[in-house]
């Protein structure tokens, strides 16, 4: 009976260790995803700046191609907007995931 208990305890410990490792991995994943989001957001803003600069250059010096360029610029701007929307959604999902990981941590901590 005692050996059964010890075996079970060891088993529980293995599960707990695995869960802790999993949570640590999740935290690392969350961090790397956040870094990726930051990069995407910076690129989006950079795209916007490039479009604005090109827009200005074209308006100043290349009237004949203006309508076509404005069409492309608007398309690019909308795509950037869509990317921004996507990052907002992912950010919220990440925040909620991080909360879940934190709650798991708390429920597994020795004091509880």
């Amino acid at each position: 009976m005692l050996s059964d208990f010890i075996r079970r305890l060891r088993g529980d410990q293995v599960v707990a260790n695995a869960a802790a490792e999993l949570r640590a991995e999740m935290r690392d994943e969350l961090t790397s995803m956040r870094e990726l989001l930051l990069t995407i957001n910076h690129v989006v803003v950079q795209i916007h700046e490039v479009v604005e600069t090109l827009n200005h250059d074209v308006r100043a010096g290349a009237e004949p191609v203006l309508p076509m360029f404005l069409g492309h610029a608007e398309r690019l701007r909308l795509d950037a907007d869509t990317a921004i929307g996507a990052t907002q959604v992912i950010e919220r999902q990440l925040a909620l995931l991080a909360e879940q990981v934190a709650a798991l941590d708390q429920s597994q901590s020795p004091s509880t």
């Binding site: 870094e35 930051l38 990069t39 957001n41 910076h42 690129v43 989006v44 803003v45 950079q46 916007h48 700046e49 604005e52 200005h56 308006r59 100043a60 010096g61 909308l78 795509d79 950037a80 907007d81 869509t82 921004i84 929307g85 996507a86 990052t87 907002q88 959604v89 950010e91 919220r92 999902q93 925040a95 909620l96 909360e99 709650a103």
Partner: protein, 806 residues
């Protein structure tokens, strides 16, 4: 049961970019009206003054707050919910669930209007961009705690299309605006603009250009309505339409043989809509799918008998099977119209059904159902809310900028970083200028200034301070200051240089002249005052524009939350342009912290620092050197200009130096990096900082010189009380030479002046300025708009300073 203690409602849709005050905008207005009427604990969060103005007649103004972290922070406690009202609106980048709500860990409920784009993808997701938006909305919807659908049909279809748990979707319904009343309560005049003179009795139908509105089926049905009805009635189709839609409707009407019996009104005003419904004998809603079907309710509220489709949400709104028809069968629609017009008993039944609907669907009930749904369903988790961090942004040039304000902002930001380290706030840099925030080096606390309004939102920040100079290095910051409510820090009381600089960069008069003219016109409009006329040829001349009183500040000051300037002269200029506000802070420039102050230099170098243009009076400075050589016998004196030269100023300096015989006494070294700049100052015996036109700006160069212990001579009116270390004289070569000479020849006088310069600098540092700035931005909103507050050292050489003399 989890009690709801407060509800933060997103009120931005009431002036939505695509819906304006229609549709969802109208729904949000009604919901807020209902919450007010049941005295629910709520706050309406608005994104603009226009939204606040629109809401002011609907809810208690005390319940309206601009979106900001503070508005969320003040309610980040157990029992507070956030109500997202534009979760499914295009575009997602409008930020339906702002970061600050997620940061505060508030439970989120979202109003669910319909999932029509998911149910009819061939029509609404044909465009790849629309498909991508639809794809990202579903996962966003699944992050919220519960959905509040406006009908059971919307609830059922949302559960299926979005993969949302049906048991976490409640139905709250909708209501009708108070303006929709029967004619016997308040009859509005006949809408002659949209209803032709020869139309007497008519059947009205509020439709739209979308296929699901079934205008085609309605026209086919009208053709099948029996002759007596068509002889006495016209069909009035009310809907905004473009010319392509109108052409198609006219073709359908012609094909059905009813072209002369149908009126297409186009867009109508609210009063015209009410009048049309009050005057109609019958209203028909033939739509194939709706989220709710507000036109049914509006017609009923106006006392008009109404019939509708027997599909989607419409039978919920009008709970009377005898009032419904099969929208896919024109014959069924025609029979329903004929019976409703000719059968008096049936009309009575329809009127009773309409009365029941208007009693059932009212905004206070929607509000009560909202509150009880939140209480009964509760949040998904019990994570306690937390107050989001105070966030403060400084926008302007930083490292790498050719603007002197870039150097200043770097030092100020370091002080703000230190303050943030001990104070409860987060500090963010918004960098003006390309190349300063490379995508390869993302940093959550450093963004390009143009990120605000794109990825970052104004409501991400408690305060945004825009540090502005008057050159093309500040274009993006100036755009931000003109478009959002910021604390506008004007290092010069003008933005002319920003726009002239941009115009020069364009290299195209066809662009730059209209740009400048447009800027001047806009300022005239906003300030309601007339500036001196400036002809086109002078539009790109900053000095001419300054002489004409043009500052281009009107638009920015009109929007500013507060304004910060560095001198009395500048605050006078700001008040001249806009006498009634905003609150103004006179905040003198800080002196930098330097590693090492100078010892007595071996040579007799005079140094002039900063951006070199004609306004820095370089020819006068050269003349002063000539006077030192000629009248004071100082033939070893040298004048060194440090800074980027603009336009023809180098030629002017060279010509003057040759003419006065001091060409070998003048040196231009151009722009230097930080260490060379500091070394150049340390090698100088005296500083000389001049202005032809002084607009009340303080000189960062003067501050740099004093901090290094270099006695300085200037004609700047903003220099403060003169003292041995900082001598203020008129712009006159002989007078300048008389002030410079003792400092160049008398070592004792120089040492006394150098100690005084260091003391002046130590009395007002970047840490002092950062502290004063933080105090100001926290208090500015509560001050009267015409407040002028002054801070800084009590006098130029004292270490004491005032925290806030008003």
């Amino acid at each position: 049961m989890a009690p709801v203690r407060h509800l933060l409602v997103d009120a931005r849709p009431i002036d939505h970019p695509t819906a304006r005050q229609r549709g969802i905008g109208r729904y949000v207005t009604g919901l807020l009206r209902g919450l007010g009427e049941i005295d629910a604990p709520f706050t309406a969060l608005v994104g603009s003054d226009t939204e606040a103005d629109l809401l002011a007649d609907v809810v208690d103004p005390a319940r309206i707050r601009p979106w900001s972290p503070a508005a969320v922070r003040d309610h980040a406690t157990e029992g507070t919910w956030y109500l997202a009202t534009q979760l499914m609106l295009h575009p997602v980048s409008l930020d339906p669930v702002p970061h600050v709500v997620t940061d505060a860990r508030l439970p989120v409920a979202a109003v669910m209007y319909d999932v029509i784009p998911y149910r009819h993808p061939e029509r609404y997701q044909a465009d790849p961009a629309a498909r991508r938006l639809a794809q990202m909305r579903a996962p966003l919807a699944r992050t919220v705690d519960l959905l509040l659908a406006i009908s059971d049909f919307a609830a059922d279809t949302s559960a299926v299309e979005l993969g949302f748990e049906r048991e976490r979707i409640a139905t709250i319904g909708a209501g009708v605006e108070p303006r929709f009343v029967p004619g016997h309560v308040q009859r509005l005049p006949r809408p002659d603009r949209v209803l032709p003179d020869d139309v007497d009795r008519y059947v009205v139908s509020v439709t739209g250009g979308d296929e699901r509105k079934n205008t085609h089926g309605l026209l086919q049905a009208w053709a099948q309505v029996r002759a007596p009805v068509r002889a006495s009635h016209r069909l009035v189709v009310v809907a905004a339409h473009d010319h392509l839609v109108l052409r198609q409707w006219e073709r359908w009407a012609a094909e059905a043989g009813v072209a002369d019996e149908v009126v297409f009104t186009g867009a109508v005003s609210d009063d015209e809509m009410v009048a049309l419904l009050q005057g109609a004998d019958l209203a028909v809603m033939p739509s194939i799918e709706e989220g709710f079907g507000l036109p049914v309710l509006e017609a009923a509220a106006c006392g008009c008998p109404v019939i509708c489709s027997a599909v989607s949400s419409l039978p919920e709104v009008l709970d009377e099977p005898a009032a419904c028809f099969d929208p896919h069968d024109p014959g069924s629609i025609a029979d329903a119209i004929r019976r409703a017009i000719l059968d008096d008993a049936h009309r009575g039944l329809l009127l009773n059904a309409g009365r029941r609907a208007t009693e059932r669907w009212v905004w206070p009930t929607v509000a009560r159902d909202t509150m009880s749904s939140l209480e009964h369903l509760g949040p998904r988790t019990r994570t306690p809310p937390r107050a989001p961090e105070r966030t403060i942004a400084l926008a302007g040039p930083f490292e790498g900028s050719a603007s002197g304000i870039g150097v200043y902002d770097v030092a100020l930001a370091a002080s703000l970083d230190r303050a943030a380290g001990v104070g409860p706030f987060r500090f963010v840099r918004l960098v003006d200028g390309s190349g300063t925030a490379a995508p390869s080096d993302p940093d959550p606390d450093r963004w390009p200034v143009r990120a605000l309004g794109r990825y970052l939102k104004p409501w991400d920040f408690d305060h945004v301070v825009t540090a502005l100079g008057s050159s093309h290095h500040h274009v993006a910051t100036a755009e931000l200051a003109a478009s959002e409510r910021c604390h506008v820090w004007l290092h010069e009381a003008t933005l002319v240089g920003v726009h002239v600089g941009l115009s020069h960069l364009s290299g195209s008069p066809t662009w730059s002249v209209p740009h400048m003219r447009d800027q001047i016109d806009r300022c005239r409009t906003i300030a309601h005052r007339r500036q001196s006329d400036v002809v086109d040829a002078e539009l790109l001349d900053p000095l001419r524009l300054a002489a004409a009183g043009v500052t281009l500040l009107e638009e920015t000051l009109a929007r500013a939350r507060s304004v910060i300037v560095s001198s009395e002269r500048a605050v006078s200029e700001v008040r001249r342009i806009r006498p009634d506000g905003p609150p103004a802070l006179v905040l003198p420039l800080a002196h930098p912290r330097v590693e090492r102050t100078v010892g007595l230099p071996s040579g007799r170098d005079i140094v002039a620092l900063g951006w070199l243009d004609t306004n820095k009076a370089p020819v006068t400075a050269v003349s002063a050197v000539a006077a030192l050589v000629e009248h004071h016998g100082l033939d070893d004196v040298r004048l060194v200009f440090v800074g980027e030269a603009v336009g023809d100023v180098v030629d002017e300096i060279s010509a003057a130096a040759r003419r006065l015989g001091v060409a070998d006494r003048i040196e231009l070294v151009g722009r230097l990096d930080a260490s060379a700049y500091s070394a150049r100052i340390a090698a100088s015996r005296v500083g000389l900082q001049l202005r032809l036109i002084d607009r009340g700006e303080m000189s960062a160069a003067v501050a740099d010189l004093l901090a290094h212990g270099v006695p300085t001579v200037t004609n700047l009116s903003t220099a403060g009380d003169p003292s041995p270390g900082l001598q203020v004289v008129r712009l006159d070569p002989a007078g300048l030479a008389d002030a410079l000479a003792p400092l160049l020849v008398d070592d004792t006088a120089w040492a006394e002046a150098s100690i005084d310069a260091i003391a002046r600098a130590a009395a007002w540092t970047f840490d002092d300025v950062a502290a004063a700035l933080l105090q100001w931005i926290d208090e500015a909103d509560s001050l009267a708009p015409d407040t002028i507050r002054r801070v800084g050292p009590v006098n130029g050489s004292s270490r004491r300073r005032s925290a806030g003399r008003q």
